[in-house]
């Protein structure tokens, strides 16, 4: 029985590791120092696309203080995060694909020697023509960046149709087509990636690394190093920020393991900030075309969404990213017929991957700006129009996503009221504006990255006869507070203080598997696993205590470090005594819990991306000041409401909302990973000074409302908050800019130059808009057709019929 009167859940406890972080005690990967440790430096390609003709490491090896130099031939087995994209080598074997691609690695006595040795490595390249844009990748087949993929330099093409969109467009009163571009940007975690490997004399290797996914690193190392997985231990150190940027197995992690195996000494690598830019795996640049049909009241009749992703030089999570650009359009507003076509291109740039919101901020931007345009054309209030056509709770969407709880309506109401929307929208003086946007995000992916039937998250509890409780879980704290969530939940169930609990996480030797800190899965999945483990422990305690006290089991309650009779609270034992009783009766007390998401109703090919146990919802109103003389946009305030289901800890939830708003502001106003437009594909500014991100001077006020509508699939009803609240920020700002000065900036980021160009066009009577006008010509395959649930579909694809259109 779960009591409504929580002792821990919903309370703003500090994080269990907060003080260590404030006194400098937290050991990040680069803080680890082992005796006889060597230092690694990685030589990276200075060419964007070239064959490696010859590598000579002899001068580097001859330098005093150098212990080993390795190249691609030492690590010939490829790897990659997705089973379908095993396209990376720790060190390039025969070809480099972007500036920054790793070519050789040195282990030396100190970093200076390693650096000098790196510069003594001779590499002879044969340059190849480069592919630098989506358009080039679509139009130019040779040279191919990779020998796999759907064709030429197209990595992946996806074409899905749910219901018949042409029928839907025929029913519409208005059909709009718009094109948008969302520039790529990067995570920029404050901590540069670092790793330490130690191969010991028993032939076992330990890797400490700033990774969000120790389990996937473990799997990749077993494959590439050709060691039994049981001889490999991966420990994820606390991440100094991740945001998705530490979710792939990385070349530097493999390289230090190999160097440690060769030298028999611990080896450390710490990337420079410039190298972190080359690791990337950040937001894909995405070009989008959206065709939406609506009735006069704003009800959507059909949507056709096309996305073109610039993937960079490797697969990374890109196939999943591609599907994500087309998955979640249907879970906010009702979309009865939906078609998605997505294409991911290989280009000679650092690889893109998952960044906070993984593949969904780009389409959300397009969708929410287009809805703003539609509302204006239909003379509807954009907030009311959205509110009126929400996707209903407890339904299955046209593309087979099962929506559970759905608090978006209340989110809209709160920000509309809080921002005094009705008195301000289209009513503020020139230069001032407000804009609204909504969004949704998954609470964990329904399916694991590699196919298996095992749980996605496991928790193990050990109760000590002195009353100590240790919770062990493979999850990785990247600052979001996942260690604390485990402690809060176990403390709630067992009636003890969260600070009584020892949390051991992210160690593949000690902790049961959790798939990692990505896709906003951790609170929901580890939380459910922790509840199960703790309830099993609680069961053992109450059986033993009931027997001792002669009280019925159902009368016993656990609170304030006691197990007692609720009818007669003086009758009871301390928590520690309860463990002694249980251990005397049952033996050593250890329990486990695990979590596997429910099966998705979608069964068609491609239905693996998008399903989630629950969806979080957000709505935001942004208020901006646009200077028409300079084009500078200042975001003054954001009102944001987030449907969290239930806050396990409201203070941490608010922190995630504010951090998401901040990161969304960075994306819409300034952050961009851009490259020189010549054929050299050089990153314009791989440094923190020139890659602009918001400082205290750019951050706006944030008014946050938390909507608590518990979801049956969440632990205590909790849904995600780490990623979703970023999503409405870019379109809300864009819509506010239009409200302020009447120009549409259909391209992210909204820089002063773009605003000025659109204002100039407006002054000359042209279309007051800045953004792309077309998408590349692509020969799409016939879409895979699926009947929607409303049409009586069962989630499977229809038999293929050749149709000429």
């Amino acid at each position: 029985m779960v009591s409504k009167d929580f002792k821990v859940i919903g309370k703003p406890f500090r994080k269990v590791d907060a003080r260590a972080k404030c006194v400098g005690q937290t050991k990040f990967a680069d803080d680890i120092v082992l005796p006889r440790m060597l230092f690694c430096k990685i030589l990276r390609s200075h060419l964007p696309h070239a064959l490696i003709k010859r590598i000579d490491v002899s001068k580097a090896l001859a330098l005093p203080g150098v212990f080993a130099v390795i190249t691609g031939k030492d690590l010939p087995i490829p790897y990659g995060i997705l089973p379908v994209s095993q396209d990376e080598h720790a060190l390039c074997v025969d070809k480099v694909r972007f500036i920054g691609d790793p070519v050789a690695a040195v282990a030396a006595l100190d970093e200076d020697v390693a650096f000098d040795a790196m510069n003594l490595i001779e590499v002879e390249y044969e340059p190849l023509n480069t592919i630098s844009t989506i358009e080039e990748a679509v139009l130019i087949d040779e040279p191919r960046i990779h020998e796999y993929g759907d064709s030429g330099n197209v990595h992946k093409k996806v074409s899905l149709e749910f219901g018949n969109v042409e029928d839907g467009f025929a029913m519409a009163d208005l059909v709009r087509e718009d094109t948008f571009f969302y520039e790529g940007n990067t995570h920029l975690p404050m901590e540069q990636h670092a790793a330490v490997a130690h191969f010991d004399s028993d032939g076992k290797i330990t890797l400490w690394s700033s990774t969000q996914t120790p389990h996937y690193v473990h799997r990749a190392l077993a494959k590439v190093l050709e060691l039994p997985a049981s001889h490999i231990r991966v420990i994820a150190t606390p991440n100094g920020g991740g945001f998705g940027g530490k979710s792939d197995p990385f070349n530097h992690e493999v390289a230090v393991c190999k160097l440690s195996m060769i030298t028999g000494r611990p080896v450390k690598v710490t990337l420079t900030r410039e190298e972190v830019f080359y690791c990337h795996r950040g937001r894909h640049p995405v070009l989008m075309k959206v065709k939406t049909g609506v009735k006069n009241d704003g009800a959507i009749t059909a949507m056709h969404f096309e996305s073109y992703l610039d993937g960079g030089a490797y697969g990374s999570y890109g196939v999943a990213s591609t599907f994500y650009t087309g998955a979640l359009q249907t879970v906010t507003y009702e979309v009865p017929r939906y078609k998605f076509q997505g294409l991911r291109a290989f280009t000679n740039k650092p690889p893109c991957g998952p960044k906070r919101g993984h593949g969904t901020p780009q389409p959300r931007y397009a969708l929410e700006v287009q809805i703003d345009k539609i509302a204006e054309q239909l003379r509807l209030d954009p907030a009311e129009m959205r509110r009126k056509h929400l996707a209903p709770a407890n339904t299955v969407t046209a593309n087979y996503l099962r929506i559970g709880s759905m608090g978006l309506g209340e989110c809209i109401d709160r920000v509309v009221e809080g921002s005094d929307w009705k008195n301000r929208f289209r009513k503020l003086p020139y230069g001032k504006g407000v804009g609204i946007a909504c969004s949704s995000y998954i609470c964990g992916a329904g399916l694991p990255i590699y196919w298996n039937n095992m749980p996605q998250s496991g928790v193990q509890l050990r109760l000590d006869r002195q009353g100590g409780v240790c919770v062990m879980c493979g999850s990785t704290d990247i600052g979001q507070g996942s260690d604390s969530i485990l402690a809060y939940i176990v403390a709630e169930v067992l009636g003890i203080d969260p600070f009584d609990i020892r949390v051991v996480t992210a160690d593949t030797d000690l902790t049961p598997v959790d798939l990692g800190s990505y896709s906003s899965r951790v609170t929901l999945m580890t939380g459910n696993a922790a509840i199960q483990a703790a309830e099993r422990a609680r069961e053992l305690l109450v059986i033993a205590v009931a027997e001792k006290l002669g009280v019925p089991i159902e009368n016993l309650s656990l609170a304030e470090r006691r197990v007692f009779d609720v009818e007669n609270p003086d009758v009871g034992v301390s928590f520690a005594e309860a463990v002694v009783l249980a251990e005397s009766k049952f033996g050593t007390i250890g329990t486990v819990g695990s979590y596997t998401p429910p099966r998705s109703p979608g069964k068609f090919k491609g239905s693996g991306v998008g399903p989630s146990p629950a969806y979080s919802y957000s709505a935001a109103v942004a208020e901006v000041d646009v200077n028409p003389d300079t084009g500078i946009v200042v975001v003054e305030r954001v009102w944001i409401a987030h449907d969290i289901g239930r806050s396990i800890n409201p203070m941490l939830v608010l922190g995630q909302v504010e951090g998401s708003v901040y990161m969304g502001l960075g994306e819409i106003l300034m952050e961009e990973m851009t490259y020189r437009t010549n054929r050299n594909v050089v990153h314009k500014f791989p440094s923190m000074l020139e890659y602009k991100s918001p400082t205290t001077m750019e951050m706006c006020d944030v008014v946050t409302y938390l909507i608590e509508d518990p979801d049956p699939n969440g632990p205590y009803g909790a849904k995600e908050v780490g990623q979703g609240p970023l999503l409405p920020i870019p379109p809300a700002v864009a819509n506010a800019v239009y409200d302020a000065v009447g120009v549409r900036i259909d391209e992210v980021p909204i820089t002063p130059e773009k605003v000025m160009r659109a204002l100039r066009d407006k002054g000359r009577g042209r279309d007051p808009r800045y953004g792309p006008d077309s998408v590349p010509p692509v020969a799409w395959p016939d879409p895979l057709r699926v009947l929607t649930p409303a049409e009586g579909g069962d989630g499977t694809e229809m038999p293929h019929v050749a149709v000429h259109s």
């Binding site: 703003p12 500090r14 994080k15 590791d17 907060a18 003080r19 972080k21 404030c22 006194v23 400098g24 005690q25 937290t26 050991k27 990040f28 680069d30 803080d31 120092v33 005093p64 203080g65 006595l109 100190d110 200076d112 020697v113 995570h187 920029l188 975690p189 404050m190 901590e191 540069q192 606390p238 991440n239 100094g240 920020g241 991740g242 945001f243 420079t272 900030r273 990247i478 600052g479 979001q480 507070g481 203070m651 941490l652 608010l654 922190g655 504010e658 951090g659 998401s660 708003v661 901040y662 990161m663 440094s687 923190m688 000074l689 991100s693 400082t695 205290t696 001077m697 951050m699 944030v702």
Partner: protein, 161 residues
């Protein structure tokens, strides 16, 4: 090779006199982390761009990645490890922990020391003053808002309110 040519200096570190020998090109950041094993001081760029490695030298915040270790000779250096009084946390450390101002915690030592410098100079800072003082420190997690709240609450506690 850096191992061959160490120079020795003495300075006051967190209230204690230390003598340390290191290669003369090393930055104060490297000397603190590598030669004195005080890894509480972090680095985010080693180019003076992010504020992560801030420490106090003679009471003023400086970026330890831009200062040569040799220049610390005979000066007073304070790092995050020296902020607490014995087992008693500095009010800023307490409020940062309690109010969620440290998420990943990587930028936190730099923020704390710069905030300490601010509160010494200005015991009752306005929000704008706090923003200005912390504008050289980047944080990617918090959006800064919880940091402002923590600085304001610590200021209040230090003033005895």
């Amino acid at each position: 090779m850096s191992l061959l040519s160490k120079k020795q200096i003495g300075f006051t570190l967190n209230g204690e006199h230390v003598e340390v020998a290191f290669a003369p090109h090393k930055t104060l950041l490297e000397v603190l982390r590598e030669d004195l094993n005080l890894t509480g001081t972090k680095h985010g760029c080693e180019l003076g761009e992010c504020g992560t490695c801030a420490v106090l030298v003679d009471g003023r915040s400086i970026l330890s990645c831009l200062m040569l270790g040799l220049d610390a000779e005979d000066r007073e250096v304070k790092t995050i490890e020296g902020m607490a009084q014995g087992a008693e946390l500095h009010p800023l450390q307490q409020t940062f922990a309690d109010l969620g101002a440290a998420q990943c915690g990587y930028c936190t030592p730099g923020f704390l020391l710069v905030a300490e410098e601010l509160l010494k100079k200005s015991p009752n800072p306005s929000r704008a003053e706090i923003q200005e003082a912390l504008s050289g420190n980047l944080c990617r997690c918090t959006g800064y808002l919880k940091i402002y709240e923590a600085v304001e609450l610590a200021a209040q506690q230090i003033r005895g309110e």
